[in-house]
């Protein structure tokens, strides 16, 4: 059964009224943390999360109501389209049916706005003056800058240095929304200065940017840290994606055999996958959930399951996660984003329990997939999203070779209009090989082994 000629799913599917809390329904999962020896800042202990958000992150309720004001914001662009990729299917000559959930349709250009707008709402309600955060490729910083503009909150963004340099338009976009953007590591924090002292050419990583942002949040008056991925509440907010997709697929009479999404820390993957996990459990009809990570940052496929910090300097609590080590810094030659050393604790646990699968793709394969998709579907995917597309294409080709139809849904988590510099390098044969990045992964794994992890 197909959709209309455009490939877009017919309505009406409405914006969900609740977020889906997978943690409440994972039998055997226990959220644990180990507390670091933390020196208090000059303001004593600073709760970084509004209590409302904390309650969400530890709730045992499977559904948590979306505040009316947040839902009204969502309705500006949601539900996002579910689109059948007819042209891609024809190009690949595959019997597979390929759908994508187009989160690129959001005003910020990616799924990140789903949590950014919710967090800004709660922080404003909690009387906070401003936020500080870290961003990798810039999608989270962009989304949060928009959300902070909407809620009249100040924002400082520490952006991974190599991305800051590779994607200057991202900085402009954030500044346009009133944010202050700094390349990380920077000289504005003790964390940044210590990293630069050890390696003046450090390209940066999301965990380093997080360390810097945490330091500012501890010292600033009326300023708090906001996370873009990994934490339970962020994954929770993103489940509007999957809930809509479940309804949209049902409206088309389709069942997703496989759901695919790229994996950084896990927000876009959890957003689309968790509602399908629930649906599988309730209906008994299985849906394979596949996380796709870069070979230059392969925490699920090659990392270890261990207690680790969320930031580079080890100032945050430790969670059990698949990790490459919190000091791991992905290669600067890696243009595809997804630069975080660890997977979200709940996703890590689900992977360990065999509830989700994971694969890794090299950046040449990723950019090739991105170009293939762009030319077929006239939509340039973010390099992060192109990781998912790379695996979808693999599956579609396998379906052609085996003659086995498969219905595949992937999350097009963002557009790539700010990533044309990376695509330019790829098109002109200037994208570096994956070999150097893989050598750094080997070094990271070796450090973990030496540390007895």
């Amino acid at each position: 059964m197909t959709g209309p000629a455009t490939g877009a799913a017919p309505g009406p599917v409405t914006v969900p009224t609740h977020w889906y809390n997978v943690v409440a329904e994972l039998a055997g999962y226990v959220a644990e943390e180990r507390r670091p020896a933390l020196q208090p800042g000059r303001h004593g202990i600073r709760p970084q999360l509004p209590l409302s958000i904390y309650r969400q992150s530890v709730s045992d309720e499977p559904f948590i109501e979306i505040p009316a004001a947040v839902r009204a914001e969502y309705e500006r662009w949601r539900p996002t389209p579910l689109v059948r990729a007819h042209r891609l299917e024809r190009l690949l000559g595959t019997p597979a049916r390929i759908y994508y959930k187009c989160e690129a349709a959001s005003p910020s250009g990616s799924h990140k706005l789903n949590s950014a707008i919710a967090q800004a709402y709660y922080y404003k309600k909690a009387g906070i003056r401003g936020l500080v955060t870290g961003t990798g490729a810039g999608q989270w910083g962009t989304a949060l800058s928009m959300a902070c503009a909407a809620y009249d909150l100040e924002l400082t963004v520490y952006m991974v240095r190599c991305s800051y340099e590779q994607k200057p338009q991202r900085r402009v976009l954030m500044e346009l929304n009133g944010a202050r953007v700094l390349p990380s590591p920077s000289t504005t924090t003790e964390a940044g200065r210590s990293i630069l002292a050890a390696d003046p050419d450090c390209p940066g990583s999301l965990s380093v940017a997080s360390s810097e942002a945490h330091e500012i949040a501890q010292e600033g008056d009326g300023i708090r840290y906001s996370a873009g991925s990994g934490d339970n509440h962020v994954l929770l907010h993103q489940t509007v994606i999957g809930q809509e997709a479940v309804a949209q697929m049902a409206a088309l009479g389709e069942h997703a055999d496989t759901v695919v999404a790229a994996l950084g820390a896990g927000s876009n993957f959890a957003g689309i996958a968790m509602p399908f996990h629930r649906q599988s459990r309730l209906t008994g009809r299985p849906t394979r959930l596949v996380a796709v990570e870069p070979t230059s940052c392969p925490k699920l496929t090659r990392g270890v399951y261990a207690w680790d910090h969320h930031d580079a300097l080890g100032n945050t609590p430790m969670s059990k996660m698949y990790t490459l080590g919190h000091t791991f810094i992905p290669s600067p030659i890696h243009a595809g984003g997804l630069r975080y050393h660890g997977a979200a604790p709940v996703i890590s646990w689900m992977y360990r329990e065999g509830l989700i699968d994971a694969v890794a793709c090299g950046q040449h394969q990723v950019f090739e997939a991105g170009v293939t998709f762009a030319r077929a579907e006239q939509l340039i995917p973010a390099p992060e999203s192109a990781h998912a597309i790379a695996h979808v294409i693999d599956r579609a080709i396998r379906a052609r070779e085996t003659g086995t139809p498969e219905t595949i849904l992937f999350n097009l988590s963002g557009h790539g209009l700010m990533d044309l510099g990376s695509y330019d390098k790829y098109l002109n044969g200037l994208l570096e090989s994956d070999a150097a990045a893989e050598a750094e992964v080997e070094q990271a794994l070796s450090r973990l082994a030496t540390a007895g992890v």
């Binding site: 943390e33 933390l38 004593g44 202990i45 709760p47 509004p50 209590l51 904390y54 309600k125 909690a126």
Partner: protein, 88 residues
Amino acid sequence: MTEHISTRVKQVLVDILDIDMDAAEIDDGIPLYSTPISLDSLTLLRLIAALEKAFDCEIDDEAVMTADLVDVASLVELVLGQLSASLT
């Protein structure tokens, strides 16, 4: 009444943080961020959520963010303030 609430707050603190002390031994002036309590920002929230359950109240987000939480007395103050607010 204040003393009763203070005792209950200290009991919750001891139970939630698994502190090897009697609640009666917890002095009001004990700092929250050094031993034996050693809170960090997340365990503080865990403790406050537990206090909400214990006192069957909902503590305001802004009250938590603006409170100067430095010692046990300030935690008791936070709960007292919330309970008073819920009565008005």
